[in-house]
């Protein structure tokens, strides 16, 4: 068998792929967190819960309305986005004049409510979601067998990250958004409706989380804890990358996913903490984060 550094190559590539998939979710989630933080100045603790909600919406669409995976991939982010508008308008908007910490505490409470309700309804074990027929099976890449769906997840997240980056960096909407992040009162003075922009930014950020949730649904069983397991790691990713840069979030997300995957091969016991260890090292060497500006 083909070996790399004394480990069988298929094992290596398999874990690398799993790492890339986790990295894709880290990238999508930390991207949403960064966009929301830039505009609203709150850390959205409910991000993991809304990721989970996206998966459950996809499951509900399939089982109650017969809406298939592809439409769910479009509809679930939209529905969760509308829910996000509701949350921002009714609750989060009341906190902008207060200390940032209250935003964290409020969204933490929201996460508890959403996850608690899901746990009541579906139990802790969750429900299965089938892989769409088009993406079933595996393909032989010569050096490993790749389940097609897993390849799709990496591809779809990379495309979504790219689209988000293009919108923010290359379009006029993105330019306004970046300007408002820098100096909201000034942008408002130019006649732009900043409060509406804030609401839509929040909706967009949580829609990204829901998109990731739908992608994740066929891989992990759709369960109430799937977001809670992710969100703390994503926070560490955000600390490592710094929330200042869009591209930084994407690169850090994928990179850390790969590091985590490789740790599973070389030192399995360390795989659950490796991202936190990286965070500690980054804090020691570059306290502002890899892509962050010093405060």
């Amino acid at each position: 068998m083909f070996m790399i550094l004394g480990y069988p190559a298929p094992l290596m590539f398999g874990q690398l792929l799993l790492g890339l998939i986790n990295g894709a979710f880290y990238a999508l989630l930390s991207l949403g967190l960064a966009v929301i933080f830039g505009m609203l100045n709150i850390v959205n603790f409910a991000h993991g819960a809304l990721f989970m909600l996206g998966a459950f919406v996809a499951w509900g669409l399939l089982n109650f309305l017969g809406v298939n995976y592809w439409f769910a991939l479009l509809l679930a982010p939209l529905i969760v986005g509308v829910f996000g508008v509701l949350l921002e308008k009714t609750l989060i908007a009341r906190l902008y004049k207060l200390d940032h910490l209250y935003g964290l505490l409020l969204t933490f409470g929201l996460a508890l409510i959403i996850e608690g309700l899901a746990r009541n309804e579906f139990g802790s074990s969750g429900v299965p979601y089938p892989i769409p027929s088009l993406l079933q099976g595996a393909t032989n890449l010569g050096f490993m067998f790749m389940p097609i769906y897993r390849g799709w997840v990496v591809l779809a997240s990379a495309i979504m990250c790219l689209i988000t980056w293009l919108i923010i960096e290359k379009t006029s909407i993105g330019a306004t958004l970046r300007a408002a992040t820098e100096n909201a009162p000034l942008v408002q003075a130019f006649g732009i409706n900043v409060p509406r922009m804030i609401t839509l930014t929040y909706a967009g950020g949580v829609a990204l989380a829901a998109f990731a949730g739908v992608l994740a649904a066929p891989i992990y069983s759709v369960n109430p804890n799937m977001g809670a397991n992710f969100i703390i790691t994503v926070f560490a990713v955000v600390v490592i990358g710094g929330m200042g840069s869009i591209l930084g979030s994407i690169v850090t997300g994928f990179g850390l996913g790969v590091i985590e995957g490789l740790t599973k091969v070389f030192y399995p016991q360390g795989s659950s903490v490796v991202i936190f260890v990286v965070m500690v090292i980054v804090l020691l060497v570059r306290p502002a984060g890899l892509f962050g500006k010093a405060a």
């Binding site: 940032h100 505490l105 409470g109 409510i113 608690g116 703390i232 903490v273």
Partner: protein
């Protein structure tokens, strides 16, 4: 004495009387749980209420204190007071390491870093051999206090817990009202200004963090002796969330708030034990309500009504 104002002294004496009388009316084990959490919340409040630092991973120090105290009592045969001291030192040592890392960043990042470090501590406890993994450390003996007084009876144990709690409570109060505490409050109000006055704010923050973590370890160690068990529940981030809830509900930056919050929260969990995940939902609703409409907390509002400081 201890920097108490007159109303505070009266409130403190009322609390002492209640703590002393309660075990004859209510179930002592429940009360001991309340006192352990109250001490934990007081330790947490020292940071968020007086330094303005939101540590979102405080369960790590609480849980680690519990594990070390439990292990010392069971495997090394430490007497209870030594086991609790070992737990306190463990909480403080872990706090020194994590605090040293976390104070490199401010505000919201501090919260995220402490949360992530707390999760790291959780995974460590899940795999480290001395914690017993999923089983935890079970059948921790309460032992004999100073090697002489048996703590088998709940009332004897209660007396120890009450003394530990009152000691921690007074210590926090004394720290807050010391010159050191004044500087902490200055950092909370305006950190650049405190720096410009010549204070090394990072050192002050770190010392406050270590004290808070040591007290959390004290609370955790005491709790593991009371229940004879130290488990992953106490290091899990849900516990970190709970202590935030207690403090917020009782009143951030009030002296009696964390105690009241711990009482309400523990009582609620006790009565809603069969309700399963609804407890989580209710906790979430309390968070949202407190943040939106009730930021001063129970004691904060009460103090405002009575126009005194509590």
């Amino acid at each position: 004495m201890f920097g108490f104002s007159r109303p505070q002294l009266i409130a403190f004496l009322v609390m002492v009387v209640l703590v002393a009388g309660a075990p004859f009316v209510l179930y002592p084990v429940f009360l001991m749980k309340v006192l352990c959490f109250a001490l934990f919340a007081c330790a947490f409040n020292l940071l968020i209420g007086y330094v303005g630092l939101l540590s979102f991973g405080h369960a790590a120090y609480f849980g680690m204190g519990g594990y070390v105290a439990g292990y010392a009592a069971k495997a090394w045969g430490f007497t209870p007071e030594l086991a609790i001291i070992a737990g306190t030192l463990a909480g403080g040592a872990l706090g020194a390491a994590f605090g040293w890392l976390a104070i490199r960043r401010q505000g919201i990042y501090f919260a995220m870093i402490t949360l992530a470090l707390g999760q790291m501590a959780y995974f460590f406890c899940l795999q480290a051999p001395f914690t017993g993994g999923e089983d935890g450390i079970q059948q921790i003996p309460r032992g004999n206090l100073f090697g002489m007084i048996s703590l088998k009876s709940d009332l004897a144990m209660y007396a120890v817990v009450a003394v530990v709690f009152l000691f921690g409570f007074l210590l926090v109060h004394r720290i807050v009202h010391s010159p050191f505490g004044q500087i902490l409050k200055a950092i909370r109000e305006n950190e650049p200004r405190a720096t410009s006055l010549g204070y090394r704010t990072d050192s002050y923050k770190l010392v406050a963090f270590i004290i808070s973590c040591a007290l959390a370890g004290l609370a955790g160690g005491t709790k593991s002796l009371v229940f004879g068990i130290a488990t992953l529940t106490d290091v899990h981030n849900a516990m970190s969330g709970e202590v935030v809830l207690m403090t917020l509900l009782g009143g951030l930056g009030t002296i009696f708030g964390p105690v009241m919050g711990a009482l309400i929260s523990t009582a609620m969990e006790n009565y809603l034990a069969q309700a399963g995940a609804w407890v989580t939902v209710i906790q979430g609703v309390i968070f949202v309500t407190c943040v939106l409409a009730f930021r001063k907390g129970v004691i904060g509002v009460l103090a405002e009504r009575l126009k005194i400081q509590l």
